[in-house]
């Protein structure tokens, strides 16, 4: 069983040869080619017996080993031996093995680095800044909360009576249903003094648009129109009524709407 696992684990013929060299504690630059070839073939036979698919590279290497072995065993002619001085038939194999061994070791190093650096995390999301709006709606400004506070205070000044100052009292505010013509007039005038004009239907809080309130507001506007403080425009029957300011501003100037 263990030999099978081993066989499947070899990356290729060079890997198998390196394993044999390592196992036999052989110097890669002086490979006992006969022994190594025999052992290599034993492995291939074992693979064959186990019906493992032997990659063609393994067979090619086997042929190569046998060729080297034959060259080593054949007696050389004298002049040939002189000519080939230093050119060992194993040389090419040794070079290949050394080269492969180098990268095999580097691959272990890479595996180690991969493992270590996978412990590092990078920031992906969560920028402190909100996204931009790409809509064309109005102009855009960049503000701090203090600006928001100022924006709010300005609104507050303009529309003081409209505000429930403390959070939590909302239910009381919403359910407030007491309306008088006088209050409504005051409210409408306030809106007119800041906005210059408004659409009648916008005067009401949707949830509490009671008949009393609509009637009261309508009466208030009629009085304002009658006293020359406001004018009403309606483009078509049943369309929204536009209420427009008439008369003087605080600074004495006179204008019609905005």
């Amino acid at each position: 069983m263990s030999i099978r696992v081993k066989l499947e684990a070899f990356e290729g013929p060079l890997d198998l040869l390196l394993h044999l060299i390592d196992k036999n504690k052989i110097n890669i630059y002086d490979i006992p080619i006969v022994e190594i070839t025999d052992q290599y073939l034993d492995y291939l036979f074992a693979m064959q017996e186990m019906n493992l698919d032997i990659a063609s590279e393994f067979l090619l290497m086997a042929a190569n080993l046998l060729h080297i072995k034959s060259r080593m065993l054949l007696p050389k002619r004298k002049e040939e031996a002189e000519q080939e001085e230093g050119e060992d038939p194993r040389q090419e194999l040794t070079r290949k093995l050394a080269e492969y061994k180098k990268y095999k070791e580097l691959s272990f190093k890479l595996r180690e680095l991969d493992e270590e650096w996978s412990k590092v995390y990078y920031k992906t999301t969560g920028i402190f800044i909100t996204e931009a709006n790409n809509d064309s709606d109005n102009y855009t400004i960049s503000v701090s909360f203090n600006d928001l506070r100022i924006i709010y205070l300005e609104l507050l000044k303009k529309r003081q009576d409209k505000l429930n100052v403390r959070a939590g009292e909302i239910n009381v505010v919403v359910q407030r249903d007491r309306v008088s013509i006088k209050n409504k007039m005051k409210q409408i005038q306030q809106i007119l003094s800041t906005k210059g004009r408004f659409i009648f239907s916008r005067l009401f809080v949707k949830g509490k648009k009671s008949m009393t309130e609509i009637v009261t507001a309508f009466l208030a506007i009629l009085i304002l129109v009658k006293t020359g403080k406001a004018a009403v425009e309606q483009k078509r029957q049943f369309s929204d009524i536009l209420v427009v300011r008439l008369g003087k501003n605080k600074d004495g100037s006179c204008r019609h709407g905005e």
Binding site: F108, I127, Y139, V143, S144, L155, V174, G207
Partner: protein
């Protein structure tokens, strides 16, 4: 394993020296600080005290103490980030005084801009939450539909139930994202109106 046999080589950011450090959170506040910085760095969302505590497996008081200390350390002007606290949640953000530079990185796509209408609406909700759209409209004197939609989309406000009255109008309130964007640690920390 083979890896263990590899000898030290130059050229890879001295990771090995870093690995030599022994890690024990149990008795070292410095390591607790280091881990908290790591956690806050990778967490996109504000990280709750509870979550930090459960990861570190030390008690809340100690985590809080270390974070308070870290906040002080971050004040060093060499630092470009700081810890923000929002409702017992923590997150890292850039220092506002570097805005002139950071904004250049965040140009298209990430600028901090809303319409005037949206800011007005946001201010009203922040000071009057929970509040209905009708009331917002009333204060602003104009319809705030699109501003509210924008703020909801940006997660700066959220629905906070209904008023128990005809039509059941929706109530709105500001979110933690709002606190985060405007630099508050809780809703109680809003600047007083007057």
């Amino acid at each position: 394993m083979v890896v263990a046999d590899m000898e030290s080589k130059n050229g890879y950011d001295n990771l090995n020296t870093i690995f030599l450090q022994d890690m024990d959170v149990k008795d070292d506040d410095e390591i607790v600080a280091s881990v908290i910085e790591s956690l806050l760095f990778i967490s996109g969302e504000p990280l709750s005290l509870g979550k930090i505590t459960s990861i570190l497996e030390i008690d809340k008081k100690r985590v809080k103490k270390v974070i308070e200390h870290m906040k002080e350390v971050y004040k060093d002007r060499r630092r470009g980030i700081m810890i923000r606290e929002i409702n017992e949640c923590y997150l890292l953000c850039t220092k506002p005084e570097n805005h002139d530079y950071t904004k250049e990185l965040c140009q298209s796509g990430q600028k901090h801009v809303l319409s005037q209408a949206a800011y007005e609406t946001l201010a009203i909700i922040a000071y009057n939450k929970p509040i209905t759209k009708a009331e917002i409209d009333e204060i602003r004197g104009v319809n705030s539909d699109s501003a509210i939609a924008k703020l909801l989309e940006r997660n700066l406000i959220r629905k906070a139930g209904h008023v128990n009255s005809p039509g059941k109008p929706i109530l709105y309130e500001t979110t933690e994202e709002f606190l985060k964007c405007f630099g508050f640690s809780s809703h109680d920390a809003l600047p007083p109106l007057e």
